[in-house]
C-alpha cells in the first residue's frame, strides 16, 4: 500500500460480456500490485480448493455475495481500491449479464476510464457492443480494450490483431476519444502488472502502466460556473445570527469571492461575499468541491436553485431531449409519468415522445416504437412540470444528467443524458 498524500484519483470500471474475465482481471491487478491482504488471499485459496478448482479463482476477491459465489458470476457492482506510488484507484467491477446492465451503468456513470474485456476465443459479442456504446454515451473519456485469455489462443498475434481491427471498425462509429488495446491473460497475469514473456510481439505498455499514466487532465468543466444549492445554512446562534450560507457542490467553473452571480430561477443578481468550509476561507472554488457560499445581498434562495454567472447561463427549459438507458421491467411508454431528479432538484415529468431506440449491434435507429424495455437505449422527449437548468451532457456530466424515478414504486428506473 502506498502512503502518498496528494495523489490523483482515477475511477475506472470494467465492462464486457459474461465470463470475459472482468472480475479475474481485477483480482489479478490487486494481487500483482500487492494490494491484497494475506487473510483475503487465504480465504480465496480455501474457497477455490473447496470448489475443487486446480487454480486460485481470483474473481472470488470481488464476487462477494453468496449468490455470486455460488453461480460464479457477478450480479452487482463491487468497489475495490488500490494505490500505487503514482495514483489512487477506485475500481467498479461490474456484471456482464444483460439482465444486470443497470448495475454496469451504475459503476460506469462516475468512471474516468473503462476497461472493456474481450475473450480472445470469442471476439466481439453483443455485450461488448452494448457496453462500448454505453461507455460512449456516458462520455467516459478513456477506453482500454483488453483482449483476454490470450493463454487459450497460444498468445496468437493474428487473433489479437483481428479483434483490434474489428473493434476499431465498430468504435469509429462511437464518440470515444481515446481507445487503447492490450493483449492479456488475467488468469496468468500476462501484461496486467508485469510484462508478458509470451507475447514478445506486443510493444505497448502493460495495463497498470497505462492506468498510472493516462492523462486524466480534468474530467470536470472548469469554464461554465454552476453551483446548485443543496441546502441553506442558518445557524440561529447569537454569534452567527445573520449568517445565511448556501451549501452545495460546485458542478462547473471557478467561483471567487467578489464575483458577480445570478440566481436561477429568480433571476436576482448579487456578489459572492465569501466561499468557505468549516469557517476556512476558500479563494477559488471549482468542481467537485463541497463549499458554503455567502452573498452580499439577502435573496430568497432554496434547495434546487442554481447560482451561475450572469454572462454564462445554462439552458432553462421544460422540454428535455434525453438519451435514456431504461432499467426497469415495466416498459416506458408515451405519457408514462415519472419523477425527474436533476442536480439538487426534483420534479414531476411525463414522457412526450419516444423518438427512436438504438440497435446496439449496428447502432441503427429503430423508429416508430410504442415502448422501450429493460436495458434498451432510446432517445426520448420529456416534459417537466417546472423549468430545469441544464447543460448538455457532453458539456457537463453533472448538470447534463438526470435519473428517472417511478412515482409509485420509488425505484430508479432510468438514467438520462440530456442532449
Amino acid at each position: 500500500m502506498s502512503i502518498q498524500e496528494n495523489n490523483q484519483l482515477l475511477r475506472f470500471t470494467t465492462a464486457g460480456s459474461v465470463d470475459d474475465g472482468k472480475s479475474t482481471l481485477i483480482g489479478r491487478l490487486l494481487y500483482d500490485s500487492k494490494s491484497i491482504f494475506e487473510d483475503q488471499i487465504e480465504a480465496v485459496k480455501t474457497s477455490s480448493e473447496k470448489k475443487g478448482f486446480d487454480y486460485v479463482d481470483l474473481s472470488l476477491l470481488t464476487d462477494g455475495l453468496k449468490s455470486e459465489r455460488e453461480q460464479g458470476i457477478t450480479i452487482d457492482v463491487a468497489y475495490r481500491y488500490f494505490a500505487t506510488p503514482k495514483r489512487k484507484f477506485i475500481i467498479a467491477d461490474t456484471p456482464g449479464h444483460t439482465q444486470y446492465t443497470r448495475n454496469m451503468v451504475t459503476g460506469a456513470s462516475t468512471a474516468n476510464l473503462a476497461i472493456i474485456l474481450v475473450d480472445a476465443r470469442k471476439g466481439l459479442l453483443e455485450q461488448t457492443y452494448r457496453h462500448s456504446f454505453i461507455a460512449s454515451l456516458l462520455k467516459i473519456p478513456h477506453v482500454v480494450v483488453c483482449v483476454n485469455k490470450m493463454d487459450l489462443v497460444d498468445y496468437s498475434e493474428e487473433v489479437y490483431n483481428k479483434i483490434v481491427a474489428d473493434y476499431e471498425a465498430f468504435s469509429s462509429k462511437l464518440d470515444i476519444k481515446d481507445v487503447q488495446f492490450v493483449p492479456i491473460s488475467a488468469l496468468k497475469g500476462d501484461n496486467v502488472v508485469d510484462r508478458s514473456e509470451n507475447m514478445p510481439w506486443y510493444e505497448g505498455s502493460t495495463l497498470l502502466y497505462h492506468l498510472e499514466h493516462v492523462h486524466i487532465a480534468s474530467d470536470f468543466n472548469h469554464i461554465d460556473c454552476r453551483f446548485p444549492v443543496q441546502m441553506v445554512i442558518r445557524p440561529h446562534t447569537l454569534e452567527f445570527q445573520d449568517f445565511r450560507g448556501y451549501a452545495g457542490r460546485i458542478d462547473g467553473g471557478i467561483f471567487k469571492p467578489g464575483d458577480e452571480v445570478k440566481v436561477l430561477p429568480s433571476g436576482f443578481t448579487s456578489k459572492i461575499k465569501s466561499i468557505e468550509l468549516n469557517g476556512e476561507q476558500i479563494s477559488e472554488a471549482y468542481a467537485p468541491m463541497s463549499v458554503t457560499m455567502t452573498l452580499e445581498d439577502e435573496i430568497d434562495i432554496s434547495r434546487g436553485d442554481m447560482i451561475v454567472r450572469p454572462n454564462n447561463q445554462p439552458e432553462v427549459e421544460q422540454d428535455l431531449d434525453v438519451m435514456v438507458c431504461w432499467m426497469n421491467q415495466k416498459a416506458l411508454q408515451n405519457r408514462t409519468k415519472l419523477i425527474v431528479k436533476h442536480t439538487t432538484k426534483e420534479c414531476q415529468a411525463m414522457v412526450k415522445d419516444i423518438q427512436y431506440k438504438v440497435d446496439v449491434n449496428t447502432l441503427h435507429r429503430i423508429e416508430n416504437i410504442e415502448e422501450i424495455g429493460m436495458n434498451d437505449i432510446a432517445r426520448v422527449s420529456i416534459r417537466t412540470a417546472q423549468p430545469v437548468f441544464f447543460d448538455s451532457y457532453s458539456k457537463n456530466r453533472q448538470t447534463g444528467s438526470i435519473i428517472l424515478i417511478d412515482p409509485n414504486t420509488n425505484e430508479t428506473v432510468g438514467a438520462g443524458m440530456i442532449i
Binding site: 500500500m1 455475495l65 470536470f220 446562534t237 469557517g279
Partner: protein, 309 residues
C-alpha cells in the same frame, strides 16, 4: 488563505483526500435535505469519529442537525465511552443511547452463553428498535467498502424494507451524484458517506485534519489473553478458558468493536505517523482481527440482510 488545490500547468484538481472529503460532505448534506429524521450511528470507532467530524464541517457554523445514536452493547471499552461523551459535549449534539442490556431485560433478545459469547448479533435488534422508536428514516454509518466483500457491494444510499432488511440482489441503480432517497412509509435508508475511503485514507485524513481519537488506537501496555491467535483484552466480559493466561503486551487497536471480540495487534506505533507507516506495511485486513467476521464466509452479508449496520 486555505488552498486545497493542486494547480499544475493551469489545471485545477483536488488531492484524493480532498475529493473524498467533498464527496462525503455532499452526501451528508443530501441526507439532511432528503430525509425528515436522519441520525448518525456512532460506534465510537475512528470511522464514526471521522463521520462526525465531516458532519461538523458540512453544516458549520450551524450545529450538526441530527442526533448521534450509540448502540451500547454493555461490552464497550471504557475509553470509548469516555471519548464519546467528550465529543458529544464538544460538538453540542444530541446523543441517544440504545442499550442491548435493556433489550435483554425486556426479553427482546436472548444473551449468548459460553466462552465465545458475544453481543454482536444482539445489537441488530436494539438498533432496529431504537431507529423505530425515534422514527429515524435515514441512519448514516461509517462503514467503508474496503472493509469487507459484502460491504464492497453496497450503495451509498442503501434502501431497507419495513423489516430493516437489505436485499443485495435488488439494489437501486445509483448514478452520478444523483441519490434517490424516496421511500414508502415504514421503510428507511442506511447511508454510508465514507464508502469510498480506505483505511489508509482515513488515517491520512485524521493526521491532516488533526482529529482526536481514543487512546486505544495508539500503542499501549495492556493485560491480554491470546485465543485462537487473536489478542483479546482482559475484561469482566471475557470468561477465561482453562489453561488461558493473562499476559502483558504492547498493543494497539485497528478497529474498536466490543471488548470480548475485538482483537488487538502487537504494535509500538504511538503516533499518527507511525500508525500510517504500519498501515502501509501491514498484510492483513483490519477486520481480520474481528472474531464476528470469522463465523463463516458470508457472515457479514447474512448479518447485513437481517438489518445489521
Amino acid at each position: 488563505m486555505f488552498n486545497p488545490e493542486n494547480k499544475t500547468m493551469g489545471q485545477y484538481y483536488l488531492s484524493h483526500l480532498k475529493e473524498l472529503e467533498a464527496e462525503a460532505i455532499f452526501i451528508i448534506r443530501e441526507v439532511v435535505s432528503q430525509f425528515e429524521k436522519p441520525a448518525l450511528l456512532f460506534s465510537g470507532g475512528k470511522d464514526s469519529i471521522l463521520l462526525a467530524h465531516l458532519a461538523k464541517k458540512a453544516f458549520y457554523p450551524a450545529k450538526i442537525p441530527f442526533p448521534l445514536i450509540h448502540i451500547d452493547t454493555g461490552h464497550n471499552f471504557p475509553e470509548t465511552l469516555e471519548f464519546r461523551d467528550a465529543l458529544v459535549e464538544e460538538l453540542g449534539v444530541q446523543l441517544v443511547v440504545g442499550s442491548v442490556q435493556e433489550s435483554i431485560d425486556k426479553g427482546r433478545v436472548r444473551e449468548e452463553t459460553g466462552v465465545n459469547a458475544s453481543r454482536n448479533a444482539l445489537q441488530t435488534v436494539t438498533l432496529l428498535d431504537t431507529l423505530e422508536d425515534l422514527k429515524i428514516d435515514a441512519a448514516m454509518g461509517g462503514a467503508r467498502r474496503d472493509e469487507e466483500k459484502a460491504r464492497a457491494k453496497e450503495r451509498f444510499f442503501s434502501h431497507r424494507d419495513e423489516f430493516g432488511q437489505w436485499d443485495p440482489k435488488n439494489q437501486r441503480p445509483e448514478l452520478w451524484n444523483l441519490f434517490n432517497g424516496r421511500k414508502h412509509h415504514g421503510e428507511h435508508f442506511r447511508v454510508f458517506p465514507i464508502s469510498n475511503w480506505t483505511e489508509m485514507d482515513v488515517w491520512q485524513y485524521i493526521k491532516e485534519e488533526n482529529i482526536a481519537l481514543p487512546s486505544l488506537y495508539f500503542s499501549h501496555e495492556r493485560e491480554c489473553v491470546v485465543r485462537d491467535e487473536v489478542i483479546l483484552a482482559k475484561s469482566e466480559y471475557l470468561p477465561l478458558k482453562e489453561g488461558e493466561e493473562i499476559q502483558k503486551l504492547i498493543v494497539r487497536y485497528r478497529t474498536c468493536g466490543d471488548m470480548p471480540i475485538t482483537g488487538a495487534v502487537l504494535s509500538n506505533a504511538d503516533t499518527l505517523e507511525l500508525i500510517i507507516e504500519e498501515v502501509a506495511t501491514t498484510r492483513t485486513t483490519e477486520r481480520g482481527t474481528r472474531a464476528d467476521d470469522k463465523r463463516g464466509e458470508t457472515a457479514m452479508e447474512d448479518r447485513k440482510k437481517a438489518g445489521y449496520f
